[in-house]
Each structure stands twice: as structure tokens, then as C-alpha cells.
């Protein structure tokens, strides 16, 4: 049962039956988004059919982690046929089984339709996947996360074996340092350096903590990794433990991620059974265990000092730094806190070498980054690209641009801590420093595309509502300042503001950034400040109350066709045939039906 050497690991890997040994393998996505569209039921029903026909020997149906193309889920990859089915529903199960599995015919209605209306059979030919390159997500969607054999077959735990059996802790740290890996949780701190600092502090106890408190609205890369490839996280944390001299690790995961716990717990038990976690790993003196700590849903607990306090049973609120956790962290002991995505890069770095990893990316940002692409874009899902890829490539090549070809006004990057990037900067290579230089930040990887119809003041208000609500309330600027900023935005959007509010917003934002205790407060004003920078006129329209809240008709373009009046749900458009129509602005609910109906573009948006 226990694995004691790299040779025994190799033998184990070879013994695993590979997908290619089956007549047909179906990778069925059980990621969050697909689960919400009943993919678990679909998989269960399909498996029942396979069982019923005794086809388990030749048909390999795998419930895998996120297949990334969430907007098209539930999704299935079928090998070796190289067919990808999208938007699969319960009603399609019979056809998939009978037509595809038994008869070998492709079900065209389940194929992906591109923007150009072409049917595309294989994911490999979809633009969404073409420019992606996976390191962090290398196994996600490929392997059954509940089966350690499949992970081992992908060279799983080899990096751990190489580290424990062939390298000193210092050598491991050196490799991570040389790889140029930086923290993927938002801050971008060099991981090797963090480990080196923690390793350098003498202490009887040290801790490795995995920050899985993924709280940015719309971000779900960490959860996808935990659910799709839990062993790589376990392996990476164990390597970190060896490198810094810790024997205990904890995964701090938000309690809302209840679904992630099941594969994670299975993986932890499997790793222990095989001597890859627990006492005397790989038969060496090194022992390391991993515990799970559930967060209670506070966004601020993603901040490492707040996370540590929460783990200790205190109220989750940040502490002043220094001292940094590397010096005095969990229970006052040296602690390295790293994010999920950061961790899972480590085994790949150990296996392939620092140089290999450093060959991807830009000068100071190495490797890849996973983004959660969403908003007004055709292709929605998880995107892993090498650092240095431009926003334009992500939005237009991978994302397919706007679904209705409207103008894309900006992208919001970095969630509630980030800012907007406008079209003129879409050619900026995505890396930590370039994004900071244009006033945005990498953040944890939320990427929300916004089109011409988006109201930037409303968007800023949305984010601020989130942060002021999630503030722990410890320091003054975050507790009261973000509330005051939110109140100003509310006044503005309720048409109760005044021009002086703009200066108030700016000075308040500037001072909150300067004086807040932790990263949450220091970045909370970013969505407001960056939208103010690029879309000042939208703020002014509210502040000077020149913004119309309703639709209106541009008289000279109106031909009096009556189409608008007929579609208006509240009957607020009046006018005789072939005469100019008018909208009663006090009754208009700004639904936009008239705008869509007008054949002459005579309707003016609010």
C-alpha cells in the first residue's frame, strides 16, 4: 500500500488502465456551473445505461472536474472520437447512449455553434480552447478527481518523491525561486521568497496554509482545481511543508464550497493510505498532515492575517503587518500562506524544472494565469493563458468578442479590488506589473467584459456595495469610508447628487486607499477611482443631473411607424401614424423594448 520509492510510483503509474485502452471514454464535466445544470443527474443516468448494458469494460464514463467552457455546459468530451457535446440536457441522455455510444453517430444538435454559425465537432477547433495553455489546470477535466490512480498515471506525486528523496529543502526553494512563480491570489508576492523567509525562521513548529477562501464575485478557479485535481494541491502543500520545515498544513476553505469537500477528503484519505501524506512520507523521516478549516463566509478572511485569526477561532479580521505570517503566523508560529492556484504550479515546476516554467510569461511574471471570463462576451468560462497574453486576445480570440457584436467598452479585472481597463489598453500584456502600471491589478483572476450599454457608475456601485458590506469594520476608513462612498454613489444614481460629490468621491477614495489597515480597504475604492478616471462623463451626467433615466425619441429620425408604441409594455409612447412619437419619461421603465423595435435608430438610450 505505502509508496516508498520513485520506482514503486512508476510501477503504480504503469499499472493504471489508461483512457486509450477503452473503446470509448467520456469526460463529463461535473464542475460547479455544469452541476447547476444537472450534469450530475445526466452522468448518473448515462452510467445507469452503461451498467444496464454491461458496457463498463469498454465504455469509460468519467465524472471529471471543470472542462472550462462553462457558458456552454453541461459539456462532454468524447474520446477517441474527438467529439465535444455542449449544453447537454437530461433529455439528451438516450441519444448519447444509443446513437453515439452504441451506434457511433455524432449528434449534431449537441455540437457547438460558433459565432459564424459553423458547427464545430471538437473542442480543439474551438477558439475558446485554441490559445489556452494549461499548467495550473493541467489535470482538471482530464482525470477522475476521486481516483488517485489517475493522478499517479499523470506523474502525480513524482515531484514530491523527487523533492523528498533527491533534493534538500533549500534546493526545492531554490527551484521555486528560480521559476519566478508569484502568488496567484492577487498580491503577486514571489512564492520562493515567501518560502525562504518562512524556512529561515527557527521554530519548533511551522505551518503551511492553503488559502482557498476564494471570495471574489465570479471567481471560481481555485474551486475548480480543488474539485478537479485535489491531489496536486495535496502534493504541492506537502512539498511546501518539506521546503519550509513544517509538519502540518491546513486548507482554509470557505464553507460555501461544501461540494469541494467531498473530492478533497477522498483525496486526503487516498494520499494517506498510500504513504504520500501522514507519517514517514515516501518512507523518509518527513511527516506531514493536512487538516481542513472551514471559513464562515467572510470575504475579508481571504486576507492572510484575517484568515489566520479565523483559523485560531477568533473573529476574522486582519492584523497589522509586520510581523508577517512567515515570522509569526498561525498560533504565533512561522507560517506560509499560499493560494490554491499558486500551489498547484509547484509540482509542475519540480517535474519540468524552473527554466521550463520561466520560459512562459513575461520578464517578471512567469507561467500562466487562470481567469474566470464572464460578462458581455460570447464564450464564458475558465481561461488559462501564458502571462503576457493580451486582453484583446482573451476577449476577442478566446472570448469571441461580444455575442451581438456590440462595442466592448471595458473589462473589469481583479474583482472588487480591481479596476476597469478600457479599449485603448486592450493590447497590454497581462502580467502583474503591466496591469499595475495602468492602474488595474491582476487580482485573483476575475475578468468581466462590459459593453456599451453598461453603466459604469452602477458597476462601481455594485462592487462598492460588496466591499462595504464585507468590510470587517475594524479600521475607520474601511468601516465608515466605504460606506460614505457607497452612499454618495447611491445619491448620484438616484439623481440626488451634486457636482461636489465627485470631488468627495475622489478624495475619499484616495484617502481610504492610503489609510486602510488591510488589502480589502486599500483596494476597495479601486472600482470607483478607475471608472472615474476613464468614464468621468458618466459620473458627471449623474452629478449635474443631465443623465436621462428614460429612453427618448430623436424627432428627426422618427418616421412614425408606431412600432415602438406597440411594443412598449407600459404604454408610455404616444404619437399618430407617420408623425413623430414621444415617450413619457416619467412613466418609462427603461426596458429598452422600443430601442430594439425601432427600424431607424431614432430611440435614444438613457
Amino acid at each position: 500500500m505505502k509508496t516508498n520509492s520513485l520506482d514503486s510510483l512508476k510501477t503504480w503509474a504503469k499499472s493504471v488502465r489508461s483512457d486509450s485502452e477503452f473503446r470509448i471514454t467520456i469526460l463529463a464535466c461535473a464542475g460547479t456551473s455544469c452541476l447547476s445544470s444537472e450534469s450530475d443527474l445526466i452522468i448518473e443516468m448515462l452510467q445507469a445505461k452503461i451498467d444496464e448494458h454491461n458496457l463498463n469494460g469498454e465504455v469509460n464514463l468519467k465524472k471529471v472536474g471543470c472542462l472550462r467552457f462553462c457558458g456552454e455546459g453541461p459539456i462532454m468530451f468524447i474520446e477517441p472520437d474527438n467529439i465535444t457535446y455542449v449544453r447537454v440536457a437530461i433529455k439528451d441522455v438516450d441519444d448519447i447512449f444509443t446513437k453515439h455510444i452504441l451506434e457511433g453517430t455524432t449528434i449534431t444538435r449537441l455540437l457547438y455553434t460558433s459565432k459564424k454559425n459553423e458547427l464545430i465537432e471538437s473542442y480543439e477547433n474551438m477558439n475558446f480552447f485554441k490559445k489556452q495553455f494549461r499548467i495550473a489546470l493541467r489535470n482538471v477535466g482530464d482525470i477522475d478527481p476521486r481516483n488517485i490512480d489517475e493522478y499517479v498515471a499523470q506523474d502525480g506525486y513524482k515531484a514530491l518523491g523527487m523533492s523528498l528523496l533527491e533534493k534538500t529543502p533549500d534546493e526545492v526553494i531554490k527551484i521555486v525561486k528560480e521559476s519566478g512563480l508569484r502568488g496567484r491570489g492577487g498580491g503577486g508576492f514571489p512564492t520562493g521568497l515567501k518560502w525562504a523567509y518562512t524556512a529561515a525562521v527557527k521554530s519548533d513548529e511551522k505551518y503551511v496554509i492553503c488559502n482557498a477562501d476564494e471570495g471574489d464575485p465570479g471567481a471560481f478557479m481555485d474551486r475548480s482545481i480543488i474539485e478537479g485535481d485535489p491531489h496536486s494541491l495535496i502534493e504541492a502543500m506537502t512539498i511546501a511543508g518539506y521546503a519550509i520545515g513544517a509538519n502540518q498544513g491546513y486548507i482554509y476553505i470557505r464553507a460555501e464550497y461544501a461540494i469541494s469537500l467531498e473530492p478533497l477528503n477522498i483525496a486526503l484519505n487516498q494520499a494517506k493510505e498510500h504513504g504520500l501524506l501522514g507519517e514517514n512520507i515516501f518512507g523518509t523521516d518527513f511527516s506531514f498532515d493536512i487538516g481542513i478549516k472551514l471559513g464562515a463566509g467572510a470575504f475579508v478572511c481571504g486576507e492572510e492575517t484575517a484568515l489566520i485569526r479565523s483559523m485560531e477561532g477568533h473573529r476574522g479580521e486582519p492584523d497589522k503587518k509586520p510581523p508577517y505570517p512567515s515570522e509569526s503566523g498561525f498560533r504565533g508560529k512561522p507560517t506560509s500562506v499560499n493560494n490554491v492556484e499558486t500551489f498547484v504550479n509547484v509540482p509542475a515546476i519540480i517535474l519540468n524544472g524552473a527554466e521550463w516554467f520561466a520560459s512562459f510569461g513575461t520578464e517578471r511574471s512567469k507561467g500562466t494565469k487562470v481567469f474566470a471570463l464572464a460578462g458581455n462576451v460570447k464564450n464564458i468560462g475558465l481561461v488559462e493563458v501564458p502571462m503576457g497574453t493580451t486582453l484583446r486576445e482573451i476577449i476577442f480570440d478566446i472570448g469571441g468578442g461580444h455575442p451581438e457584436n456590440k462595442t466592448i467598452k471595458a473589462v473589469q479585472i481583479g474583482g472588487p479590488s480591481g479596476g476597469v481597463i478600457t479599449e485603448e489598453y486592450f493590447d497590454t500584456p497581462i502580467d502583474y506589473d503591466s496591469l499595475t502600471a495602468i492602474g488595474a491589478m491582476m487580482g485573483s483572476g476575475g475578468l468581466i467584459v462590459m459593453d456599451e450599454d453598461s453603466d459604469m457608475v452602477e458597476i462601481a456601485k455594485f462592487y462598492l456595495d460588496f466591499t462595504q458590506d464585507e468590510s470587517c469594520g475594524k479600521c475607520t476608513p474601511c468601516r465608515i469610508g466605504t460606506k460614505r462612498m457607497f452612499e454618495i454613489l447611491e445619491r448620484l444614481t438616484n439623481m440626488e447628487g451634486e457636482p461636489a460629490d465627485l470631488e468627495r468621491l475622489e478624495t475619499l477614495g484616495y484617502n481610504i486607499k492610503n489609510t486602510s489597515l488591510c488589502g480589502l480597504g486599500q483596494t476597495a475604492p479601486n472600482p470607483v477611482l478607475s471608472t472615474m478616471k476613464f468614464f468621468k462623463e458618466e459620473y458627471e451626467a449623474y452629478a449635474y443631473r443631465t443623465k436621462r433615466t428614460s429612453y427618448a425619441i430623436e424627432g428627426k429620425k422618427c418616421i412614425g411607424c408606431t412600432k415602438c408604441a406597440r411594443v412598449c409594455p407600459v404604454n408610455c409612447i404616444t404619437g399618430k401614424v407617420r408623425e413623430i412619437h414621444t415617450i413619457d419619461e416619467s412613466a418609462c421603465i427603461a426596458c429598452g423594448a422600443c430601442y430594439d423595435a425601432c427600424p431607424t435608430q431614432a430611440i435614444l438610450k438613457p
Partner: protein, 584 residues
């Protein structure tokens, strides 16, 4: 060489500053005369109390190298650090923090109990805030008036967390903590229970450090005014030892000036019929307590015996260590003894119906208000003490009555319950009760005269102190603790059999009653407490009699009324009982 290694050179506003490693920017700036405003910061260094949570963001200064603002109260200086305390960025940051606090504050300064004694108010003045640019929703919580001791007005709270530090870390009572999140955060009891429903000891240390009026004593002065104006009532007042060395501060005197005579005059002018000295009760307590101790030692009773003068401490042991209720002395506190005797001995001598007597006390303490209300001390509807006012409330009454304290002559206490020895004076400081008790126990046990009455080993500010005193052929092992966190340590050691003592003195407040929750605000200056303490020892030294059992009025009391120490009458009037309470 070592000394040099420990030193760090930094630069503040262009001035070179050499400081020891571990110094905060705030301390370094003070060294060169640069003042940085602070609000949440509190550092009572010598007694290990510090609120360094860096959450108000009022002390922000600019670290040039990082171009970032850092909290000067918590950030340590490092070699070569360049700090700018007056850059535009720093000043704007500090102002914004303060303006934001004020934007969420009732701003009812004119009628606020802390008017002219409020740190938020002073800071707004100091930072020249004349306009608040931000407005919006304000906190709106009902006032908590449910307890006998402490009033809590959360709308005035600025979340400095000083009270939380005092309650949780120093006193280990753990009543107050922040609840909820963001703008809705409120420092409150668990589940937002009424304060009166909790295990609060009413030590009042939260009140002592609150920079605003979010926490204050319950105001009992209206009831006292009513009693004074009721012609049918005979209103008696007593004054605790620690009041006389602190009240001067309220009238512009330096800390530690002894104002006993002026206090008596002020009380007379306020209209009290008799002014008694709680110190008389202290001398009496010593005799009863020493008798009890000797009895416990001789009869093999429970040891250690714990002093029971401090009501917060009694409340603490009842809630936190209900299994140890057989160890405190059964003696009532001096306040209650004077109260009980006023309504019996004094009433009898003057032919007054005890029901017509209103007993008021002036105390350095908030918990005394709750003590006076204890069921055990209100037998047959007759309370030993009816109303308690703190030193601060007393000073407000003096001001309200337009009495010029500085021009008051000195007057003596009234006879019968007015004489006191030096031993009673030191009841107001940590170590004082036990020193006084030792002076009497020594002579009681050995029958010989004690020549050297100063027991220096029992004095000081150390949180937990131990002393061994040779009395005849026995060694009396003494323990002393002030602050409830230290008391907890001592009690746990006793409970777990890790340490043995014969007698222990515990006072809940830092430094004892001199640092009581009802005293003039020390505003974080430990020297204030030290000076008050010194004044008590000076007072002790200046008195002709320094042993409680030499108090003539006390001896007369036994002859005329109680018969002898520990008699059944003494027990009826001067002793009490304790009961286990639920910990909430």
C-alpha cells in the same frame, strides 16, 4: 558594543533620532518633540496594558521609502527609516479618518457627559476640524441602561477597542467584543444581551479607557440631589480612601495631591447631614478580617483566605470560580460596614429611625454601585448603602452646586464613624489591605508590638506579588494581585494546587482603587496612578496611628455596641455571604 547594536537611527521630519530597537515611530517622534495625534492607542506600559490594534488610523505618518502611510502607534522604526509626519498625504489621511469618525458620531458635545473630557472632542479641536465633508447614515443603537454600574451608548463608540482590550485581555472577563461587520459593527456583549444580564463585574475599566462617552457610569446624582432636598431624610455620606488623592485632578490640581479636608467641606456644603470616612470601615474590616484569619489558622479552616473589599473581584469569583466560594473572607467591604453601622449604631445613638437615613458613598469605583444593590446587603428592605457616586460624579455635583473647590477650607470628618488610621489610608492601593491586615494580625497573634510597620515587599505595581512574613514562629505566605487577569492566574494556581498561600489580597483595577473605574480619567498616563499611590503611602506615614486596632472610635464601637470582634452582632452587621452565579 552590544548597546550600539541595539540602537537604531531613523529620521523624522528631517531630524535624526537614535532609538532602541523595538521603539515605535510614535515613541521615536515623542523623543524629538514631534507630536503625532492618536486615538485608539493606549499604552500603560508599566502594568502591561496596551491597545495597539492600529484601527483608528488617526496616527498615520508617511514612510518615505515606501511612499505609504503607516500607523505610527504600532509600526516599529527600522534602521535608516525616513518618516514624514506632516506631509500632505499624512495630514490628509489623518484628517479623513477623524472626519469619518465624526460623520458617524452624534456630535451632541454640549450635553454629553464627557464634554471637555473627551479625547475625540480634543482631537477634533487639535486637528482643527471645522467642517465635516462626509455625511450619511449614523449608528443608531438604544442606550443600554440595564446594569447597576455601567451605561453603554454605542452610538458614541468609535471602535477603538480599548474597552475590549481591558475586558478581554487585562481583566479576562470577556464581556465586550465586536459584533457584526462593516458599518454595522458594534462593540457589545455576546448575542447583544443587556449588560445587566451578563457576568460583567462592573470594574469599570472599560469606562476608564473609553475615549468618548460610549461607556460611562450610571448617573446616580439625580437621586442623591433628591435625597439631599428631602427634609424628612437624614442623609449621610462616606468617602473612600482613593477619592481624596484623585479628586483634585478634576479641579486643576496635579495628580496625587491629598484633598481630604476639602472633600469633607464640599460634602457639607452639598448638604449632607453627616460626613463619615470609609477609612473607619477599613480599620474595622481589618479587625474583623484579622480575627477571621486567626480563627481560620487556629481552627484549621479554609486557607488561603481572600480579602473581600473589592466588589468587582467578588462578582468575578462568583461568576468565574463558583467552586472557590469558601475562600473569600466573609467580611463585608468597608463601604457596606459604614453603611450598616450608620443605620444601626449611629441611628441608635442619635435616635433616628434607620428608615429615614439615606446612606450615600463617594467611591473611586463603578462596581460599588452594583455592590450596594446586592440582595445580601439589602436585608429587610433596608440597604446598607442607598446610593453610590463615583469620584467623577462627585466632582460634577460640586461644579453643579457652584462650589469653588480650590477655595474650600479643610474640615474634619464627623465623629462616631470618622476616625481612621494610616493602615486604612492604604486600602486604596494594591497591597495596602494586606499590609494593613498584617500590622494587626502580627500584634493579635504575637501580643508584641510591631516596630517596623512598612512592609515594602508588598508594595509596587507588579501584577502578581508574593511575600512571606514571619509572625512569631509561623510564616504567613501572602499573595497579592491586581487586575482580574492576574487574579485569575492566582486563583487557577490555587484551584489546581500549584501554589499555596495563607492569605491573598485581590483588587480588580490596575493599581487598586487608585485606578478604579470611577476615578478621574488618567488618559493613558500611568504616572497619574503612581502619584495617587504615593499620596496614599504619604498619608499613611503622616498619621499618628498606623495600625487599625489602635483606632479609638473603632474600639469604642466594640465596647458600646458590638461587644468584641467576630461577635454574633458583628457577624449580623458586618459579614455577608456569596453565591455561585452563571457565567454569561
Amino acid at each position: 558594543m552590544k548597546l550600539i547594536e541595539k540602537m537604531i537611527t531613523c529620521n523624522i521630519n528631517g531630524l535624526k533620532v537614535d532609538v532602541e530597537k523595538g521603539t515605535t515611530i510614535l515613541q521615536a517622534a515623542e523623543k524629538v518633540g514631534i507630536h503625532i495625534p492618536t486615538l485608539c492607542h493606549l499604552d500603560l506600559h508599566d502594568i502591561g496594558i496596551a491597545n495597539q490594534s492600529a484601527n483608528c488610523r488617526v496616527c498615520m505618518v508617511e514612510d518615505e521609502a515606501r511612499g505609504a502611510l503607516v500607523p505610527s502607534c504600532a509600526e516599529l522604526v527600522s534602521e535608516g527609516m525616513k518618516i514624514q509626519t506632516d506631509s500632505m498625504k499624512a495630514v490628509m489621511g489623518r484628517r479623513t479618518s477623524l472626519e469619518l469618525l465624526l460623520s458617524n458620531h452624534p456630535q451632541d458635545c454640549l450635553t454629553c457627559v464627557k464634554n471637555l473630557d473627551c479625547e475625540l472632542q480634543s482631537l477634533a479641536h487639535e486637528m482643527n476640524i471645522k467642517e465635516i465633508r462626509y455625511h450619511g447614515e449614523k449608528m443608531s443603537h438604544p442606550k443600554d441602561l440595564t446594569s447597576k454600574g455601567i451605561m453603554k451608548d454605542s452610538n458614541k463608540c468609535i471602535m477603538c477597542r480599548r474597552c475590549v482590550t481591558m475586558c478581554d485581555e487585562v481583566q479576562t472577563v470577556g464581556i465586550l467584543s465586536p459584533l457584526k461587520r462593516g458599518f454595522d459593527v458594534v462593540v457589545a456583549t455576546a448575542f447583544h444581551l443587556d449588560l445587566g444580564e451578563t457576568s460583567c463585574t462592573y470594574c469599570g475599566q472599560c469606562v476608564s479607557v473609553c475615549p468618548t462617552a460610549a461607556l460611562a457610569e450610571m448617573n446616580d446624582t439625580p437621586k442623591i440631589w433628591r435625597a439631599l432636598n428631602n427634609k424628612e431624610k437624614h442623609v449621610i455620606v462616606q468617602v473612600a480612601p482613593a477619592v481624596r488623592v484623585a479628586i483634585g485632578e478634576e479641579f486643576g490640581y496635579k495628580a496625587g495631591e491629598i484633598k481630604t479636608g476639602q472633600v469633607v467641606s464640599a460634602l457639607k456644603r452639598l448638604g449632607f447631614d453627616s460626613v463619615f470616612d470609609t477609612n473607619f470601615g477599613a480599620d474595622l474590616t481589618i479587625i474583623e478580617e484579622a480575627t477571621e484569619l486567626v480563627h481560620r489558622i487556629e481552627q484549621g479552616g479554609t486557607l488561603p483566605m481572600l480579602t473581600s473589599c473589592c466588589p468587582a473581584w467578588v462578582q468575578f469569583i462568583e461568576h468565574q470560580f463558583p467552586e472557590l466560594l469558601d475562600i473569600p473572607s466573609s467580611c463585608k467591604s468597608p463601604q457596606q460596614m459604614v453603611g450598616a453601622l450608620s443605620k444601626s449604631y449611629y441611628a441608635e445613638k442619635h435616635g433616628i429611625d434607620p428608615k429615614d437615613i439615606v446612606m450615600v458613598s463617594v467611591m473611586p469605583c463603578v462596581a460599588k454601585k452594583a455592590e450596594a444593590a446586592r440582595e445580601e446587603l439589602n436585608k429587610d428592605g433596608l440597604a446598607d448603602v442607598d446610593y453610590v457616586m463615583t469620584t467623577r460624579e462627585f466632582s460634577r455635583m460640586i461644579k453643579e452646586a457652584a462650589i469653588d473647590f480650590k477655595k474650600l477650607p479643610e474640615s474634619p470628618f464627623d465623629i462616631l464613624l470618622g476616625e481612621a488610621t494610616g493602615a486604612a489610608a492604604i486600602f486604596g492601593t494594591t497591597g495596602g489591605v494586606i499590609e494593613a491586615a498584617t500590622r494587626t494580625a502580627y500584634e493579635m497573634i504575637t501580643g508584641k508590638e510591631l516596630k517596623e510597620v512598612d512592609f515594602k515587599q508588598m508594595r509596587g505595581f507588579e501584577g502578581v506579588r508574593e511575600a512571606t512574613v514571619k509572625i512569631g514562629d509561623m510564616s504567613l505566605k501572602i499573595g497579592i494581585a491586581h487586575e482580574l487577569g492576574n487574579a485569575r492566574k492566582l486563583l487557577e494556581a490555587i484551584r489546581d494546587g500549584r501554589n499555596h498561600f495563607d492569605v491573598i489580597e485581590i483588587m480588580a483595577c490596575p493599581g487598586g482603587c487608585i485606578g478604579g473605574g470611577g476615578q478621574p480619567y488618567h488618559h493613558g498616563d500611568i504616572n497619574v496612578l503612581k502619584k495617587r499611590q504615593k499620596a496614599l503611602y504619604d498619608l499613611d506615614k503622616s498619621l499618628p496611628k498606623r495600625k487599625s486596632h489602635e483606632n479609638e472610635m473603632v474600639l469604642k464601637l466594640y465596647d458600646d455596641f458590638l461587644t468584641k470582634p467576630g461577635s454574633s452582632k458583628a457577624h449580623e452587621l458586618l459579614h455577608t455571604t456569596y453565591s455561585a452565579k452563571q457565567r454569561i
